[in-house]
Symmetry: C2
Subunit: 418 residues, 2 copies
């Protein structure tokens, strides 16, 4: 059977499953999630064996230690995956919620009810835990999922998806609620991206290259973020201790993630008052500083930033630092070089805090807090399927609600239109 | 200057304008809308002259009377446009609204604040009033708009857009808040659809051909509906008088619009009880009936429906009628032939009313009311920029809120991530 037909059959099976799943009770979906967690935990030995095949290939292919670590499905990783599923089972079901209801002058009661999107394709790289996490979130929100992981994790992904799909069946749901594209050929992705009649949403997760490839070829709506060039702006009257604590957290707590700070903007008065001490504290934590002219003057150990530094997501212990005139200068810089991901202001000024919150149009805007909080769990969404830096449908961290839409429902009593 | 550069400059100007508009006060936007309405009213003579050029061309090109009627910018049409703008000025401003706010265990206050989408492209056909309506809705919701109307209305559209853009300037806003692509070449549309870096959303309004063209070529998210094949299902215990009144309204009150009923599904018991009388009432109102075998048996004047009738949007006084076994049979038919637009059930059964509302996943689902209510104004959204039958971002009639998105805002007190 050719690849196109194979993918089409899979997507078509997902569509059928999504019709059933959309009207499945919360109780039954939660039961499925619990069975999924049990089966994964019981399949530990099998998962380890399959994962070892990927790890052997990774070693043969000379993957970096970081990549190998991401790929590893340790006993602890499996435990975390199972715990995550039980947590998702415990979350409120968004489907069927009536988010608002109002009465029209003619007596009609009009409301908006949450329903699933339908079929979601998740296209990702390396981490096999995404297979399980995405499957669980899609199932809870009533969506069928077609998963397409990277070739480097193919044995692990097949093992996980196989266990989960069988668990669905045991819970009385179609096994095609959760399917994995087993071809690792990139043309399989291309085929998926054409099926706008069967797939409702594509979520790519991985490097910028993968995401740009998906966006360039998809006929289906895509929710994505390319990168996170997150800024912190230290205002003139910021508390130096708070500013230092937040900057060290935002830059060094986990530098390889998209909500880490990449550029520090500092008001010239604050720079004069404590940039040398702040830079010292950052450097003591292993951070390399690439600064504007004024920064280099105040911090001689800093290297000069080049123009391209301002738009770079380092994902590493490197920080661009720029001394700015005022909040307007800071917001101009963010508008010019930012990625619409996350920005924070450190200030004591009520007015400037409110201005920053209102006028910066990134997906998350914070006052006096670390950019590292920009995350579905930290924001209290209960889960995270990804982050969107494009504004359509969802903007910022996406939880279960963002995997639904609302339809209008109307209770009438014989009304006709005049 | 070549077309591509010309469109790019226009979109780029719109992007700059959108940054200003996004942070413009409600008062200033409302003032601009009032000035726009005044100027349009004052330009009546100029608009009539320009409109006449389009009407002359339409006559020369042998356009149908219906098309010519759509194209005509009578004094009354202009009055309605101006009244519409004042109504939009009177609506609540969605921008800046905090739709929810909650507290996290670490004390962070997390909320979602509405912000504009940015730059919206509206691509439409024939009716010049869309130029004014779309411009007003985009302005109120803080978005810059790039308009591209059909060649048949080009003189009228240029005149309206010119007046509105100048009115913006007089209100202290950039004239590039409202721009019209003056080229009527289809390649101008193709160029626009590539500019994903500058345009945030495309809304096509018009025939299915135009919409399919836009979807096939757009790199930018598109919100659209292809057609409305709306169903009414008359349940076994429906009140015959109510069912008849609603069916006549849904089919005949304005047959040429997307929320008119196109297919009637009727429970076999109700069919036996009153389909002949119902059909007679419809035929008395000029409706041609294309029925299933059972319908033709009960209503000898009906012609036999062909398979393609079930998926057809007649936009005319023609109705497909099918006798069904029960609610499941009706919902199966809707799933198979429907267009996800609007469906209504006429019933006395509490349980089946609730089932229909829950299980039919069209953008609007009604109980005991005419499908003709599926409309932004009738639902109480205060306005309508279009209707979406795809689920991403908006599903169903779209008002001002649907021209916005939400960003996360966070009030902290020095919190860092553990």
């Amino acid at each position: 059977m050719d690849l196109q037909q194979q993918i089409r059959d899979m997507a078509s099976g997902a569509k059928d499953a999504s019709c059933i799943l959309a009207n499945t009770t919360t109780e039954k979906k939660n039961k499925a999630l619990r069975i999924m967690a049990e089966r994964l935990a019981a399949a530990q030995a099998y998962l380890t064996t399959e994962n070892q095949k990927d790890l052997d290939a990774a070693t043969r292919n000379g993957l970096s230690p970081v990549m190998i670590e991401r790929l590893t499905l340790s006993e602890k990783t499996v435990e975390q995956i199972c715990a995550g599923m039980l947590e998702i089972a415990a979350l409120a079901d968004p489907v069927g919620e009536v988010v608002r209801m109002w009465k029209r002058p003619n007596g009609l009661l009009v409301g908006r009810m949450r329903i699933p999107l339908g079929v979601i394709a998740v296209i990702y790289e390396s981490r096999p835990n995404v297979t399980a996490d995405a499957a669980a979130l899609c199932l809870k929100s009533g969506n069928a999922v077609v998963l397409r992981g990277g070739s480097e994790a193919i044995f692990s992904n097949r093992a996980i998806a196989g266990v989960l799909s069988a668990a669905c069946e045991d819970a009385g749901l179609p096994p095609s609620c959760i399917q994995l594209v087993s071809s690792t050929d990139r043309s399989a992705v291309l085929e998926m991206l054409q099926m706008e009649d069967l797939i409702d949403l594509v979520i790519p997760r991985g490097g910028e290259g993968l995401i740009r490839f998906v966006v360039a070829h998809s006929k289906i709506p895509v929710i994505k973020h390319y990168k996170g060039v997150c800024h912190i702006f230290i205002d003139s009257d910021a508390d130096p201790a708070m500013a230092t604590r937040i900057c060290i957290n935002a830059k060094t707590q986990r530098p390889g993630v998209c909500n880490a700070m990449e550029t520090l903007l500092i008001h010239h008065e604050a720079a004069k008052a404590f940039l040398p001490e702040l830079a010292r504290a950052l450097m003591d934590n292993g951070v390399e500083i690439r600064g504007c002219e004024e920064t280099v003057r105040l911090v001689p150990q800093a290297v000069s930033a080049r123009e391209e530094d301002w738009g770079t997501e380092y994902l590493d212990l490197i920080l661009s630092v720029k001394v700015v005139k005022d909040i307007d200068d800071a917001m101009d810089h963010i508008r010019r070089y930012g990625s619409s991901h996350t920005e924070s202001i450190i200030t004591s000024s009520y007015r400037r805090a409110q201005r920053f919150l209102r006028e910066v149009h990134s997906s998350a805007v914070l006052v006096n807090a670390s950019t590292r909080f920009s995350d579905g769990y930290e924001f209290g969404l209960g889960a995270e399927i990804g982050i969107s830096t494009s504004k359509l449908h969802a903007f910022g961290p996406m939880g279960l609600e963002e995997l639904t839409t609302t339809k209008f429902i109307v209770y009438g009593d014989g009304q006709i239109r005049q």
